[in-house]
């Protein structure tokens, strides 16, 4: 059973307009893969297909050899694919505190166990304890994205997909989030797929960087 998250000859069309054709990509456990492409090239569609948020129109998507299913059909955490989105505001409930947002990812454990886990995750992403009782409207984008990363890491996912996750953040916050993600890769062998139009960022972050255009072209030749 290969320890990888992969799509083989994946394709997708929105109402007859193809956005992805014949894309083959593999994210090995413990690897950090960067994928670039201009706005509108289908990066987000591919990310959603790999995460199981969108069923692939064509091709197969597997995680550690098992087909990737829609999240609500997976038992427990499935094989554990987490996603970090571009806009933290759009991916958090405005009615939950940062502490509750992080706890959402921690799953079902005892209440005390979950509280300890939230505090441990907050420390890992450098959120100070006073921020945990605030609502999203009371923190900056950078602080909220730190909370979203903590939520994603709470269930110890096997794979993390970052879709332009740092595009709205300053360089200092970006560097510190990348450091947290890379340390998860080193300590647990998490696999990472980072999608961005910022190639220099991916080259500094990932072990290998490729473009979406190159992926489609390579599979087209087969």
């Amino acid at each position: 059973m290969p320890a990888e998250l992969s799509a083989v000859n994946a394709g997708f069309s929105y109402g007859g307009t193809p956005v992805l054709r014949n894309v083959t990509i593999s994210v090995p456990a413990g690897g950090q893969i960067g994928l670039t492409g201009p706005s509108g090239s289908g990066k987000t569609t591919l990310a959603r297909i790999l995460a199981g948020l969108l069923p692939a129109g064509e091709g197969t998507v597997t995680c550690n050899g098992q087909p990737v299913q829609r999240p609500w059909k997976q038992k427990g955490h499935g094989c554990g694919i987490a996603m970090l989105f571009q806009s933290p505001r759009a991916s958090c409930s405005p009615r939950l505190t940062l502490r509750q947002i992080i706890a959402e990812g921690a799953g079902r454990t005892s209440r005390g166990g979950r509280a300890r886990r939230v505090e441990q995750l907050a420390a890992q992403v450098q959120l100070t304890p006073d921020l945990l009782d605030r609502y999203p409207s009371e923190v900056s984008d950078g602080q909220l994205q730190r909370a979203c990363l903590a939520r994603s890491l709470a269930a110890e996912p096997g794979y993390l997909i970052c879709d332009e996750a740092t595009a709205m953040l300053d360089a200092a916050t970006t560097a510190s989030l990348v450091r947290v993600i890379s340390s998860e890769v080193e300590s647990r062998g998490m696999g990472v797929l980072a999608l961005s139009h910022d190639r220099p960022l991916l080259e500094a972050w990932c072990t290998s960087v490729t473009s979406l255009a190159a992926l489609s072209a390579a599979s087209g030749e087969r």
Partner: protein, 300 residues
């Protein structure tokens, strides 16, 4: 040319903050010295939340009610006459008279500043009429490399990069002497960012003083747009000088760490996190953040 247009000396701003966690004062600017000259681009850089945008609000006379301002922040016209922008009870009123006509503003996230139900052309035409601008909308759009078709478009029909350039056209409508641009390249891909910064450079070359607020040091360094760079941390300017010096051989530890965080320089995470500006201790400096990070076990 090269006469001073914006001058700050000991500029200090305290904004009252009332939240459900209690009341306090946001130390948005402390003892800021800053000068922008006609024909030049002066970039104000720093992490999010360090007080950059509040500086723009002060220049525009748009600080929130109840704000306490001290020190000097002046607009200086070409003949050398000073207009204080924050001093006294009517500072904001004086600044309001200059806003648009003398000091143009390119806001952060321009999409939210336009009315969604009217075309860009009708809004730009109104802006030109209200400000008594000398140039027509077609002319203004041409200057920012937008085609005249954009006049008939509604804001949602333009891409982020086009809206950003349209925002510059709006800011230029009154023929301003000073152009203040707040994060004009955030969210743009490298080519569009380069194009947008190039436009701001041309505005400066045509004789205006440009103040460029950005957290994107990479684009700033790559484009070579700025003549001068000031680095802000927790409401204070920690370093200021010619762009080549500050961006290549910074002398302050904060500037050095900020530059080391860039992808091209190794993506090194900065120690600690930036502080809340509410009720910041008076003598707070970057050294305290470094000490706190060292105590928490931070190591490069």
């Amino acid at each position: 040319m090269n006469s001073i247009a914006i001058r700050a000396e000991g500029h200090t701003v305290r904004i009252p903050s009332r939240t459900r966690r209690g009341t306090g004062w946001v130390h948005a600017a402390t003892d800021v010295a800053f000068s922008a000259y006609r024909g030049g681009v002066h970039a104000l850089v720093g992490e999010s939340g360090c007080g950059k945008t509040t500086f723009a609000s002060a220049v525009l006379g748009m600080l929130p009610p109840g704000t306490m301002a001290a020190g000097e922040l002046d607009y200086v016209d070409a003949s050398g006459t000073r207009t204080p922008l924050t001093a006294g009870r009517d500072g904001a009123a004086r600044a309001a008279k200059l806003r648009g006509r003398v000091i143009g503003y390119v806001p952060q996230s321009p999409a939210t500043y336009l009315t969604p139900v009217r075309t860009v052309g009708s809004q730009l035409g109104e802006t030109v009429r209200e400000l008594g601008g000398a140039r027509n909308p077609q002319d203004l759009l041409a200057q920012v490399n937008l085609e005249a078709q954009a006049l008939d478009a509604f804001p949602h029909e333009l891409s982020g990069g086009m809206l950003q350039r349209a925002a510059i056209a709006f800011a230029l409508a009154g023929g301003p002497d000073v152009l203040l641009a707040d994060e004009p390249v955030s969210g743009l891909d490298p080519d569009l960012a380069q194009l947008t910064l190039g436009l701001l450079r041309r505005v400066a070359d045509a004789g205006a003083a440009v103040v460029l607020i950005t957290h994107d040091l990479q684009r700033l360094a790559d484009s070579g747009t700025a003549d001068e760079v000031s680095v802000m941390y927790a409401g204070r300017i920690v370093e200021s000088g010619p762009a080549s010096e500050v961006l290549e051989l910074p002398s302050h530890p904060y500037s050095r760490d900020l530059l080391a965080a860039l992808p091209a320089n190794g993506l090194q995470a900065m120690p600690g996190t930036s502080p809340e500006l509410t009720d910041l201790p008076p003598e707070y400096s970057y050294a305290e953040r470094l000490a706190a990070a060292a105590e928490a076990g931070y190591a490069r």
